[in-house]
Symmetry: C2
Subunit: 422 residues, 2 copies
């Protein structure tokens, strides 16, 4: 099934907003075994929208559009598509009464322009909107006049606001898709998320050993972001499940300790889960990461069960007063040193009665580097009942990447300790 996604909206091409629809819709389809073959963004401009829809219909079995169904003057998708397909627009009394009810319930006057949302191209199926006034529209284009091979395609128009689009997609689009385009064969997808090794090294470690599974339908994908590499194992066909399982076992044998999460899991959710399972607690002492480690931990629902506190000790005074780092240590070794990282971690652990404490001190840059400690130098310490372990790293990146990579390394130090201690 060839699927194309067209996102309309001038604000997208002006770069004022991020296209979150793309990731969300693509992820939904991929998780259900469907593949988006192309995604296109065009401005709210008649000729552009019609050209994009015509071209997508010439290639795809299913074309999805987002945006442009609202009541304002730049909401033109419905009109343009009806025109392109040569279908008249007819007022749908059921939609009109839903819209009228929507405003009545909220005791707001209904602007006259809202009525345009009750116009439906002849033959279109109406997809209910549970969180707004513009319904979605699904049309079977049969025969498809834009495709050389003829046949039929589906064209589905979805509203722009995420809280309207997402439930409509789940409740109306996926069932329609499963019904009109059932999967030809079983599909299994598993993503192993790794850290601590670059993309090409990961590939070098595992690709050869997985080669023999390619003929039975294994596909391997790598996705590198800074500080992590996803290995995506996809199986098609009758043996998909077994193939992916076998591939996963091989990857685990080769680079098991690097895998920090599966699928949608994150490093921080793994940390919170491992600590929660063990009923253990964490304290954080951050200098150069400036609260980012605490931020990531507290993004996980339930973090309050394991995180006692986070101390962002930017100044030397804060390191002394809040963590008990000694004046002599600071004077002898400087704030960015193995010795200070150790005292930060041990101070955070003891003062907060935590099972584990992670501490980081380093030079995020752009200023503050020296010859012996250049920008990017960072010391990470993990204190636990087994003592304190240290890592020195060199993360020469821009400031935000520095924070992410340093946090990732600190989390991984803790993760490995938790997994090893069992």
């Amino acid at each position: 099934v060839a699927i194309e996604l067209i996102n309309t909206g001038s604000e997208l091409l002006l770069g004022r907003v991020l296209n979150t629809h793309q990731q969300w819709i693509c992820r939904q389809l991929a998780d259900h075994g469907y593949e988006v073959t192309r995604q296109i963004c065009v401005a709210d401009e008649g000729r552009q929208i019609q050209a994009a829809v015509r071209e997508s219909l010439s290639r795809a079995d299913l074309v999805l559009t987002t945006g442009g169904l609202g009541p304002t003057s730049d909401d033109i998708t419905r009109d343009l598509i009806a025109q392109l397909l040569g279908r008249a627009l007819v007022e749908d009394p059921a939609i009109l009464s839903t819209i009228t009810g929507y405003f009545a319930q909220r005791r707001r006057p209904m602007p006259a322009s809202t009525k345009v949302q009750a116009m439906v191209p002849v033959g279109a199926r109406v997809l209910p909107n549970l969180h707004g006034t513009a319904p979605g529209l699904a049309m079977e284009v049969n025969p498809n006049p834009f495709r050389e091979s003829g046949g039929r395609s589906w064209l589905i128009l979805l509203p722009g606001p995420p809280r309207e689009l997402r439930p409509m997609f789940t409740e109306s689009v996926l069932p329609l898709l499963r019904n009109e385009f059932p999967l030809a064969q079983p599909f299994v997808c598993r993503t192993l998320r790794t850290t601590g090794m670059g993309e090409s090294m990961v590939e070098e470690k595992i690709a050869g050993s997985l080669e023999f599974l390619r003929p039975v339908g294994l596909q391997i994908g790598y996705c590198a972001r800074v500080g992590e590499v996803d290995v995506r194992l996809v199986g098609h066909g009758e043996k998909a499940e077994a193939t992916v399982r076998q591939a996963e076992e091989i990857v685990r044998q080769l680079i098991g300790p690097l895998i920090f999460a599966i699928g949608d899991g994150t490093m921080e959710s793994t940390i919170v889960q491992l600590l929660a399972e063990r009923r253990q607690t964490l304290a954080l002492a951050e200098s150069c990461t400036g609260g980012f480690i605490a931020h990531r931990v507290t993004n996980v629902p339930g973090a309050s069960a394991v995180l006692l506190c986070g101390l962002v000790t930017y100044s030397n005074d804060a390191k002394k007063n809040l963590l008990g780092v000694r004046e002599e240590t600071l004077a002898a070794h400087g704030a960015v040193s193995e010795e200070v990282a150790r005292e930060m971690a041990e101070g955070a652990r003891q003062r907060n009665k935590a099972d584990f404490a992670l501490a980081v001190t380093g030079i995020a840059g752009p200023d503050g580097g020296s010859e012996s400690k250049p920008v990017g130098t960072v010391f990470i310490a993990l204190a636990s009942k087994s003592g304190t372990v240290m890592e020195k790293r060199f993360n020469a990146f821009d400031r935000e990447t520095f924070k992410f990579v340093t946090a990732q390394q600190a989390f991984d130090l803790l993760r490995r300790a938790l997994v090893t201690e069992g």
Copy 2:
């Protein structure tokens, strides 16, 4: 100038990553007077990439691609485009030596596959990569065989990682664009970033008073994101500079106190700048935002001059021990209360000898709400030498949006205090 952007990467169409390139590149181009007419995503698949590039070259003066220049087997953009244009790939010794140096400096072994990044299509201009190993490639396609009208187009290949792409875009692509496609007439764009009022209210306040500047070429755009509304003032033609300056003055008269930054400025950079100018210091006490406020402050280079410390006091014990919040206050009012927020802020200010202290306590959700304090309830306190001011807010969003909006409100409370005290 018709510009098309092609983002390659199966991870985009699988929904594994968000397409931040699109927003960033479109924003850069729009701010410099150029317009992206279409954006396309295709998978790392030979036929798809070649078809997309061929089609974009048939329409556009400039085609930008991102991704697929790395060393792994799914990095195929360079090869495919050389093949499409019928150009041989030649190893570039200068690039190879840069790559070798990159690995030597980091004391890491260089995987053999990395060498492929030194291959350059005949006639291509090499765009240096300051933060990675894959250089960008710029090719003049002249004559352009895919365009009916003939003429020339430029095709520019950029690497996928943002920290590599962004400096390359600024330092190599923009100058090339200005040189090869100079703007027909002066273009001035100024974005005023506001917080504290919804999009339609902002428009209602200013649109009427700016109407008289439309005939001389003023365009006004509004873009609302959660917690902020951008007002984009664009001028075209000879008087662009004066028109936009005049428009800005009018907007400042009408809604000046809402404007927290200009252009690419952020709330946090404004805060750090205002404090640094006044040689004043800040301490933070965060509960529900979990370090996110400290994280945003420390994203600003130079934050160490103004931020003394950040305390993420998730547990009640941490609130008592680190901030001196009284047991009785916690017992009488609960951790999420105006009284606790006040004691957090005052404790953080006094204990750290800071000029200002911001404190937040609230219920981020998904759990922890009650009838009197539903999920989304938050108390913000600002302590200074003039006393303590409080705000109660209701931010009923998902967890990450809750953190962002709450941080934005806390920053704005401080910003208004700083601006008022002068």
